[in-house]
């Protein structure tokens, strides 16, 4: 794999008549779309056999820009729609783009049950810690004390950790990075796309318009720095723990990489045993 220019990515993978995107200046979602398409390009994935599914929210607009089959479903329901697509036609590669609210709040039940079922889909969750599309309300991922339009005095609810949830329920591939880690993001998305079973990549992403502004975090560059300073790679984290130390930083890195028979394989097998 060599470096591919943005022009090639735009030309080959985007619906140009849908551009420009709706994303705000400084938003990280475009970067995640870029990482994803680069991963797809490197793997030479057949775009005629790939379906991009999403729910509702800023991140859920991503499939609209990709020149492939796209299913822009309802708020929270992307993973349930994707389950139907994948089970009905196992030959299709199914990729879900979802936000932290879409995946962790209204869609939380589908998220955990698709993992439990081990449906062979890749879920890329763009976590910006806030509801962006509706103008900056508190999300299930919003850190304690953060200000949003619906927590004007600071958030008092403990945030959910989507990647840890995926790990605990048994997803065979889980990775978390930030938009400040492009190479790692691309590599993890590639691994996720190649994994059979439920693969989950969470990418922490700046929303300077809402989350950044309301919490006085500065520009996208400042937010990116903040991500770097407040995250710790799993390898370093494990070393810290081994030394009897602890940290409040969010763990990033490849959190799970294992093999587990997926729903379609199990289903096909037991159907074959009938008759």
């Amino acid at each position: 794999m060599g470096f591919v220019s943005n022009d090639i990515i735009v030309d080959k993978y985007l619906r140009k008549d849908m551009l420009p995107t709706i994303f705000c200046t400084g938003c990280g979602i475009g970067s995640v779309m870029n990482f994803s398409l680069r991963a797809i390009h490197d793997l030479n994935i057949d775009m005629n056999k790939t379906v991009f599914v999403s729910g509702i929210g800023c991140s859920s607009r991503v499939p609209g820009y990709i020149y492939a089959d796209g299913l822009h479903s309802l708020h929270g329901r992307a993973i349930a729609y994707a389950t139907g697509v994948k089970l009905a036609n196992p030959d299709l590669k199914v990729v879900v783009f979802t936000g932290d609210g879409d995946c962790g709040a209204i869609g939380g039940n589908h998220f955990l049950h698709a993992i439990r079922r081990n449906v062979d889909i890749t879920v890329i969750s763009i976590n910006n810690f806030i509801y962006g599309m509706t103008g900056g309300q508190v999300a299930p991922t919003t850190p304690l004390k953060s200000k949003t339009t619906t927590t004007p005095y600071g958030n008092i609810e403990y945030p959910i950790d989507l990647s840890m949830m995926a790990k605990v329920i048994g997803a065979p591939y889980v990775a978390r990075w930030t938009t400040a880690h492009p190479i790692q993001c691309i590599n993890s998305i590639k691994k996720a796309l190649q994994k059979t079973g439920f693969s989950f990549v969470e990418i922490l992403s700046p929303c300077p318009t809402s989350y950044g502004r309301m919490n006085k975090m500065g520009t996208t560059l400042d937010m990116t720095k903040h991500f770097k300073e407040n995250t710790i790679n799993i390898k370093l984290y494990e070393k810290l723990i081994a030394e009897g130390k602890t940290t409040d930083k969010m763990i990033i890195g490849e959190l799970v990489d294992t093999e587990k028979e997926d729903f379609n394989a199990k289903y096909k097998k037991f159907c074959g045993e009938l008759k």
């Binding site: 020149y67 089959d69 822009h72 309802l74 349930a80 139907g84 697509v85 589908h110 079922r117």
Partner: protein, 389 residues
């Protein structure tokens, strides 16, 4: 396919419940994806599908709730696979947002709603016809679905096949309105010979992919229904619940685009109402009083009308099979000679409203309601008839 079922069964005559008949109807119609969630009195549909789908190359999956069930049904249908779910009142309420999505994105799917007493959890094991208005108006916004109401186990099987055909033809969700009585009642059914069954398929897109417009019309049997390109066919379709143009791309602030789309969604069904509005009538020619019913209620209603005729009363019976869309003109025409219409339904008055709207203002329309779980007895309906003499 039917032959497959008959071969596996070793017979073509069965003594089964309405819920099971919906299963066989779906299998005959080539349904190959079922997602559901257990709920009384619809669970037997899921159980039948769990048994049959793996043996016929289809997929059965029990989802985590009814929202996920209809959501995965829509996802599966996007790949071109005929898909169905089954539920009852509370689950049907949960499905409403996705039903609207299927209307907006024009994704064929069949929803079996085995009605039970409501509101809320209500009477899980008791029959009702309380979801009739919800079937039409449960999801928000202007739209048009199709709803069918069988009166017997055999008709459940037949109308399930028809539900798939209509869903494929018009690319709309079709709701099969059973109730706990039909769903759990056992009757003899005969599986039809495959050569006698018409199984419709949505019209596939054949244009070169670079000229493809997912929502262009004029190329299918019905002029306002777009052709269909399943996911994975290379046409690269974008499907959204947002107001969209013919390319399928969101255009959410144009009044023109919205009006053109939503009018078409309604008209594509309503323009063809003559061919999709099924009904059955008896003794209407000279009837001064007409009992109108649908579903289970048609059974005691038919008995009551016969009893009244034996007593020399000029009474007729109109049974609605297609509940939605409702054919106002045809109803007015069928009921034009009657001075009184008795609407027998297992609710406190739902279909009575469009019927009242349909008939002339000097026609008296009265309700013969029944709630609580038991169906009307013929004598109860007869009493209403005698009261109007």
């Amino acid at each position: 396919m039917t032959n497959d079922v008959i071969r596996l069964l070793g017979k073509n005559q069965l003594f089964i419940q309405g819920d099971e008949a919906a299963v066989y109807g779906a299998l005959i119609a080539d349904c190959r994806f079922f997602a559901g969630y257990p709920i009384t009195p619809a669970t037997e549909v899921a159980e039948g599908m769990a048994k049959w789908m793996p043996r016929l190359g289809g997929v059965y999956v029990q989802m985590e709730d009814e929202i996920a069930s209809i959501a995965s049904v829509i996802g599966a249908s996007c790949t071109g696979v005929k898909s169905m779910t089954a539920t009852s009142g509370p689950g049907f309420s949960l499905m409403q947002e996705c039903i609207g999505y299927a209307c907006m994105a024009e994704i064929p799917c069949v929803i079996v709603n085995v009605q039970r007493g409501g509101p809320s959890t209500g009477q899980p094991t008791e029959a009702a016809q309380g979801d009739v208005m919800q079937a039409m108006w449960g999801t928000h916004g202007d739209h048009q679905i199709i709803a069918l109401a069988p009166k017997s186990v055999q008709e459940t099987l037949d109308l399930t096949i028809e539900a798939f055909n209509l869903s494929e033809d018009y690319r709309v969700p079709v709701i099969l309105l059973l109730d706990a009585e039909i769903g759990h009642m056992r009757e003899k059914v005969v599986l039809p010979e495959i050569k006698n069954v018409l199984v419709e398929e949505r019209v596939p897109a054949t244009i070169e992919p670079d000229r493809y417009r997912p929502y262009r019309t004029g190329f299918t049997r019905s002029s306002k229904v777009p052709e269909f390109a399943p996911f994975g066919s290379g046409y690269r379709t974008y499907v959204t619940g947002l107001t969209h143009d013919k390319r399928g791309f969101p255009v959410t602030t144009s009044a023109d685009v919205h009006e053109e789309l939503v009018r078409r969604l309604v008209e594509k069904v309503q323009d063809d109402i003559d061919s999709i509005w099924y009904y059955e009538d008896s003794f209407l020619e000279d009837a001064e009083i007409v009992v109108v019913s649908y579903g289970t209620t048609s059974r005691p209603a038919a008995s009551a009308v016969k009893m009244a005729r034996k007593n020399g009363l000029k009474v007729g019976h109109l049974r609605l099979i297609t509940i939605w869309p409702f054919h106002y003109e045809k109803t007015r025409d069928l009921l034009k000679n009657a001075h009184t219409i008795i609407v027998a339904e297992m609710n406190l008055g739902q279909m009575i409203h469009p019927i009242t709207e349909a008939v002339s203002s000097d026609t008296k329309v009265i309700l013969a309601p029944k709630i609580g779980g038991a169906i009307h007895t013929p004598f109860e309906i007869l009493k209403f008839i005698e009261g109007e003499q």
